[in-house]
């Protein structure tokens, strides 16, 4: 199965006195579409930042295909693509110019770079806006550009942090369709608080609340009951899904 394996053992991260993530045990298998759910402030973004190597863990271990992002961030980063909550893009650059930049900093050059940009433009239907400034794009197009840059180097792991946040229903469907098309080609780690999005895009998920793992298991099972909101609060007893030790 293509994709990367992510494994966290007793992973925790503290900011001063506050524990953003506490002793998390989690495994994401290669090629899996995995959802990380939880309310705002549950620790989802902290987990993602630990996987990308943007933050270092306070204790515990985290590996991507056996490599620690804390110790070897560049080795891990070369294998991942990252789409963030807000479209973190450069508004003064044109779409195609930006994609060339994204390919360039991932080490693609010459013909490989041209081919990667052409594929990204085609895959994410950016033909009509390829010469436009990013600052002049709609949010939906901007998020497609963000997805295109994350996938331009064909990474084994794609991390999407609330990629449809702030989009209208049509734009949301476009982005979800693009993510769904990647299923099976690589590992997808999707952070969201949108339950429908989690149901449609992921096969397995975990729910975090205040930095603690509440439950993990097949998405259909975890989100089957009527206690989903209570799960987000961390107050409901988990049902059939796997209960963390």
């Amino acid at each position: 199965m293509p994709g990367a394996r992510v494994e966290a053992r007793a992973l925790s991260r503290r900011f001063a006195e506050r524990t953003a993530l506490g002793a998390l045990d989690l495994t994401i298998e290669p090629g899996e579409a995995f959802g990380l759910l939880g309310a705002n402030g549950a620790g989802k973004t902290t987990f993602i930042r630990l996987v990308t190597g943007f933050l270092a863990p306070s204790s515990g271990s985290l590996t991507v295909d056996g490599v620690s992002p804390a110790d070897h961030p560049r080795d891990v980063q070369q294998r991942l693509g990252f789409v963030s909550e807000v479209s973190h893009l450069y508004p003064d650059l044109g779409v195609e110019r930006y994609l060339r930049f994204a390919a360039g900093i991932r080490g693609l050059s010459g013909e490989r770079q041209r081919q990667a940009v052409a594929n990204a433009v085609e895959t994410f239907h950016l033909e009509t806006v390829r010469k436009r400034r990013i600052g002049n794009l709609s949010k939906g197009f901007a998020q497609r550009v963000s997805l295109a840059q994350a996938l331009i180097h064909d990474p084994a792991l794609v991390i999407a942090d609330e990629p449809t946040s702030g989009l209208d229903p049509l734009q949301r469907r476009d982005v979800q369709t693009a993510l769904a098309a990647e299923a099976g080609n690589r590992t997808l780690l999707l952070c969201t608080h949108d339950l429908d999005e989690a149901r449609s895009l992921t096969t397995r998920c975990a729910v975090l609340s205040e930095g603690e793992l509440v439950v993990s298991g097949p998405t259909e099972e975890v989100l089957a009951g009527e206690t989903n909101l209570a799960l987000f609060r961390g107050t409901a007893p988990p049902h059939e899904a796997e209960v963390p030790a």
Binding site: R13, F15, A20, T46, R49, T52, G53, F54, L55, A56, R74, Q77, Q78, L80, F82, S84, V86, H88, L89, Y90, D92, L93, R97, R100, F101, A102, A103, G104, I105, R106, G107, S109, Q149
Partner: protein, 263 residues
């Protein structure tokens, strides 16, 4: 290397995609021209006074030796330009790191496989290149006229190197402020404050012992630039400016590490 070049290209595009770069280039060129022509006008007035019949005219050796293009026009213009750089340069450096953080694009850069050293090198290099371009633009008027006044190419080159290094020193401090500041405005304001303090530490003489005063003088930007403005390029001055650049880059890296550790 390919990654570094891609980032440098992007930095240049973002820099010149913003009106601030053009505004700063125009402002520095304009202020240099105005300052230069104002001193030239004063010089001509002095010459006129000495040349009048009551003073004996040009041909009677009555013009003091210190009334010449270099001492009356060039040196004062360069001195003023050195101080004036403290105002526009922070407008260029404030955005380099602080804007990335405000937009959230720093997270993309630092998770794309680029090392923090590569990010810092690319940003510093493009900023320094812009600073040298700015100095070239501001140097055109004085050079054209003073070259006629017999300053000599070696002296001109020394002044140009001095001005460029002074600007690089100020830009380096601006980049550190940008790396640590929470916003672009804070970055610009703190750069101006730091540079005004460090430009000439002579103001501390009243509060410190003599050895400390000598040490602080050695840290002043003005002293180092002053040597080159007079046509002398000392190795110690080159080391001084190189040290500012290296310490700034190290502090910038520290800001990255702190963010990674503290969040």
């Amino acid at each position: 290397m390919r990654r570094l070049l891609s980032l440098m290209q992007k930095e240049a595009l973002v820099l010149f995609g913003s009106p601030i770069a053009y505004g700063v280039l125009f402002m520095v060129a304009l202020v240099t021209a105005v300052t230069f022509f104002e001193h030239l006008r004063l010089y001509n007035q002095i010459l006129f006074v000495f040349a009048s019949s009551t003073m004996g005219g040009f041909e009677s050796d009555t013009i003091p030796t210190h009334v010449n293009l270099i001492d009356t026009v060039f040196n004062p213009v360069m001195e003023q330009l050195g101080v004036l750089l403290i105002i526009p340069l922070p407008l260029v450096t404030m955005r380099v790191f602080a804007e990335e953080r405000e937009r959230g694009t720093d997270e993309l850069l630092l998770t794309s496989g680029l090392s923090s050293a590569q990010v810092i090198a690319a940003k510093y290099f493009v900023t320094y290149a812009f600073v040298v371009l700015m100095m070239t633009v501001s140097f055109i008027y004085p050079v054209t006229a003073i070259e006629q006044g017999g300053l000599g190419m070696k002296h001109l080159a020394s002044v140009f190197v001095g001005l460029s290094l002074l600007a690089i020193g100020i830009a380096s401090m601006g980049l550190v402020c940008s790396a640590f500041a929470s916003s672009q405005v804070v970055a610009a304001a703190s750069t101006v404050a730091v540079c005004f303090i460090v430009y000439d530490l002579g103001w501390t003489h009243g509060f410190v012992s003599e050895p400390t005063a000598i040490f602080l003088d050695a840290l002043s930007l003005r002293l180092r630039f002053g040597h080159m403005a007079e046509g002398f390029v000392f190795a110690s001055d080159l080391v001084y400016f190189a040290a500012i650049a290296c310490v700034s880059a190290a502090l910038t890296r520290l800001s990255f590490e702190l963010r990674r550790a503290l969040g």
